[in-house]
């Protein structure tokens, strides 16, 4: 049986989100047996470093590349170089539409934002002021989520405060501090929607923040709808520290990437866009996700 | 007319009045000894004349023209050369490079002007030989002894046609062999019509070359008289304060 080496290149290796994708790849690679999954990306989110790494993989003549795109334009060129060298490329998590990649596997980030917005609207149709917390200003997928949230809430009674979104640069401590700052800046803030899990990755800091505003939350005057559904986030939701979560499925992204690359190697046809779907979790449904 | 004339010069550093109301003149080809206790203000006076900092009050007239230097190089362009007490030497450069620092010799190559290493080395070697100093032009100053460094600082003043040379304790660290060379040099400068202000704590040096001696005490001028009409004993008394004025 033919052996294949597939490289998985995340945006940044310091993000726990990509660990799940890696675990998915590794598990699937083991199941398939004839695949080696090489997981390697820039440690921090920086496009030039990612581009250099892709070059290195091309030099190594890996059999396939799955890339979470750090910067669309630069990845477009790297992908072209890989495809020219005969290496099939797919993107996962963050896409480079218009590039030579064969497929994208991941979340529809616009949908993701819309889902977050709709959750908020469902919980609090009466509206109020809201703010968002984002990761880095450079990331296209995050920008799409922000747009999605805004679109979902357009026409409703929800208004975004100025200064939103704040950017925590993937620094979880900063994310919690920014939530506190946003609440201080606008005491009648009715909701915060972090469009990534950062503040909840600092569970104690997040709890401290929530406890300070416990009365308002219990009274339904302050709502927290958070993106992502990592285990610690589900636990926090279960314990009443947030109102709802919407999550992507990074593990599946990893699994499906291996399948897609293998299919490409076997010259099979695969759909260009494969959405892995979203999990919408509320207090009521959190139990089944925590199993 | 005096070559250099200071009138009503004062200089304060915060609460310290380093110089108070100094009047002082140097003529062409005159050697003036500037003496005084430690902290009397001698170096401060040199630095004022050399444009290191402006006086708090008073004016400086050079060659009949009131001058206001903002940078040392301006003073040098007007013909004031200085040997600083702390020598002003770059340890990471060679002796020759230090001598020519700020006025390197250059050679035209097409439209560019490159350093003329050979000419500078040769000229520096001549200057050191003149001073009877065993300083090697190509050696890094970093490794040199105190006296060798002083030779570098003195050699520097010989590069351009100066009107006046200020020497702040130029013989402090050098051996007797070179002391007499420096004193000779000072005399040769005088013979070329160049004025010299010599700061020194060595009474014999001052009395052997200077035409006039000026004594500072705690920032004030307490004496200014021809060397012939003074004695080492009197100057010592003036410096220590045993005698109030002369």
């Amino acid at each position: 049986q033919q052996k294949y080496r597939f490289a998985v290149v995340p945006k940044a290796m310091n993000n726990p989100f990509f660990d799940l994708a890696r675990d998915g790849c590794l598990k699937r690679a083991k199941e398939l047996g004839n695949i080696e999954c090489i997981y390697r990306g820039p440690v921090e989110h920086e496009p030039a470093t990612q581009a250099q790494l892709i070059q290195d993989f091309i030099t190594q003549k890996v059999d396939g590349l799955a890339i979470s795109v750090a910067d669309v334009a630069s990845a477009t060129r790297s992908i072209k170089a890989a495809v020219d060298a005969g290496i099939p490329v797919i993107t996962f998590d963050a896409d480079a539409p218009g590039s030579a990649r064969s497929a994208y596997i991941g979340t529809n980030n616009k949908e993701f934002g819309l889902a977050l917005g709709k959750q908020l609207l469902a919980l609090r149709p009466e509206g109020g002021k809201y703010a968002m917390v984002s990761g880095g200003p450079g990331a296209k997928n995050l920008a799409e989520r922000v747009d999605g949230v805004r679109e979902a809430l357009k026409g409703s009674k929800w208004v975004e405060v100025s200064g939103s979104p704040t950017f925590c640069n993937d620094d979880v401590a900063l994310a919690v501090q920014q939530m506190a700052d946003l609440k201080s800046a606008t005491p009648d803030l009715a909701a915060i929607v972090p469009i990534g899990g950062w503040p909840m990755f600092a569970p104690e800091g997040f709890k401290a923040f929530v406890n300070k505003n416990k009365k308002e939350i219990d009274a339904g005057k302050f709502t927290l709808v958070v993106a992502d559904t990592l285990k610690m986030q589900l636990e926090l939701l279960r314990d009443g520290y947030s109102n709802a979560l919407t999550g992507q499925r990074p593990f599946e992204m990893g699994e499906k990437s291996m399948d897609a690359l293998l299919a490409l190697k076997k010259k099979e046809k695969i759909p260009e866009i494969i959405y892995t779907g979203l999990d919408t979790v509320t207090k009521e449904t959190v139990g089944q996700y925590l199993k | 007319m005096a070559l250099l004339e200071l009138s009503g010069i004062s200089k304060s550093f915060g609460p310290i009045k380093a110089l108070s109301d100094i009047d002082f003149a140097v003529g062409r080809g005159e050697i003036v000894g500037l003496m005084g206790d430690n902290g009397a203000g001698k170096s401060t006076m040199v630095k004022l004349i050399a444009g290191n900092f402006p006086p708090s009050a008073g004016r400086i007239v050079l060659d009949g023209e009131a001058v206001q230097f903002h940078r040392p190089v301006e003073a040098r362009e007007k013909g004031i050369e200085v040997v600083y007490q702390d020598l002003a030497i770059c340890n990471n450069l060679t002796a020759a490079a230090n001598v020519f620092l700020g006025r390197e010799l250059k050679r035209q190559v097409g439209p560019f002007r490159f350093l003329d290493h050979r000419a500078m080395t040769r000229r520096a070697a001549e200057l050191f030989a003149d001073l009877k100093s065993e300083t090697r032009p190509g050696d890094l100053v970093h490794k040199m002894s105190g006296g060798q460094r002083q030779a570098v600082a003195i050699a520097r003043t010989r590069l351009a046609a100066a009107k006046i040379v200020l020497m702040d304790e130029p013989t402090a660290a050098i051996s007797i062999r070179q002391v007499s060379e420096v004193l000779d040099l000072i005399r040769r400068l005088r013979d070329q019509g160049i004025a010299v202000i010599l700061i020194s704590h060595r009474m014999p040096d001052v009395f052997s070359v200077c035409d006039r001696v000026v004594v500072l005490r705690r920032g004030r001028k307490v004496a200014d008289k021809p060397i012939a009409r003074s004695t080492p004993e009197e100057v010592t008394a003036l410096i220590t304060g045993a005698k109030e004025t002369a």
Partner: protein, 357 residues
């Protein structure tokens, strides 16, 4: 330095007395930056009426003390004329090691006799021991890193910038290596004690703030009233002279880097207690903020000048600006630019003040 008294026998007629605003505290950078701080606070409270609320003040007090303890440590290094770029990485590594130790002790994967079972739930055999061991483990690795820095700088004679730049990279890499990029969480029977001690409150005061004030007072006394403190200043003034006059230069240097790493390690543990997590990218590039805080507070990178008061004022100023800009709803994009401007302005004020004659 404390002796500015005048001596009777020595009255020179050309030496006056410095005016009050040119002496002591008033002539220090700390005083000027404190003024700047007051100005910024007034400005911020005008820009947002929420700035001076009790909740926000307690936020600020908590947030600035997150980097302030590390800033105290680095101030010592800066006084000796050195620099420590590894503090951010050390903060993270020490937090990770503490959390991992606590987890390993609690699930019995090391030293299982420390764990008993009470009512079917695991409990500590000796109350607080797991907690103490975890903290000690974190501090111990910090100490080792600090000693390595100090040894390379003092005994091998390497440049502090390069050594600690290398260490920044080495230690950050280790953070990723030991956790596989994931970070770790304090857990187990002593976790609550851990949170209480690091992120709790004493009356209205956040714990980190209490530690900070205590350490700052000790540091002020040690710097100005012990021989060791004097030697730290001497090193920054003229290292060669210090060596020649019998100051144990190498030892003091090693101690200073060790203390800086310990302070950073402690700071990291406290931050991880507040976060409830020690992510592997925690405190990433904080070294620049920490150095900026020390410098804004008057520590001079050329050595020989600095102190704890300035360090704290510098940290407060940075945090007030960060917090104030969010409160004033300034676009996030502008924040970095403004912080940069403030850093330059703070040193500019100092420079204009001391501008020579």
């Amino acid at each position: 330095m404390a002796e500015t008294g005048r001596l009777p026998g020595l009255d020179l007629d050309n030496v006056g007395r410095a005016s009050w605003w040119q002496r002591g505290l008033f002539a220090s950078q700390s005083a000027y930056v404190s003024l700047a701080l007051v100005a910024v606070v007034i400005g911020m409270s005008l820009a947002s009426q929420n700035f001076l609320t009790a909740g926000n003040i307690s936020n600020v007090a908590q947030n600035f003390s997150f980097i302030a303890i590390a800033t105290l440590g680095i101030t010592l290094v800066i006084i000796t004329g050195g620099i420590d770029l590894s503090v951010g990485s050390v903060m993270c590594f020490s937090a990770i090691i503490s959390a991992m130790t606590m987890t390993a002790l609690s699930d019995g994967s090391i030293a299982p006799w420390l764990i008993t079972t009470v009512d079917g739930k695991p409990a500590a055999a000796v109350p607080g021991l797991i907690f103490a061991l975890s903290i000690l483990a974190g501090l111990a690795v910090s100490l080792v890193i600090g000693l390595a820095n100090g040894f390379a700088i003092a005994r091998l004679g390497l440049s502090p910038f390069v050594t600690t730049l290398g260490m920044l990279s080495i230690v950050r890499g280790l953070c990723y290596v030991v956790t596989n990029g994931r970070g770790s969480f304090p857990s187990g029977p002593d976790a609550d004690l851990f949170y209480a001690v690091t992120a709790g409150k004493v009356g209205p005061l956040p714990m980190p703030f209490v530690y900070l004030v205590g350490l700052a007072i000790v540091m002020a006394i040690v710097l100005h009233h012990t021989a060791w403190g004097r030697h730290v200043f001497a090193l920054g003034g003229n290292e060669k002279a210090a060596e020649l006059t019998g100051v144990p230069v190498a030892r003091v240097k090693i101690q200073v880097y060790a203390l800086s790493a310990l302070a950073a390690g402690l700071n990291g543990i406290i931050v991880s207690g507040w976060l409830g997590s020690a992510p592997a990218n925690m405190a990433n590039s904080y070294e620049l903020n920490i150095i900026a805080a020390a410098v804004i507070g008057g520590a001079n990178l050329a050595g020989g000048i600095g102190g704890p008061l300035g360090a704290i004022v510098g940290c407060v100023l940075l945090e007030v600006i960060r917090n104030g800009l969010v409160l004033a709803q300034v676009s996030s994009y502008w924040q970095q630019t403004l912080v940069g401007c403030i850093i330059v302005l703070a040193v500019l004020v100092d420079r204009l003040r001391t501008r020579g004659p």
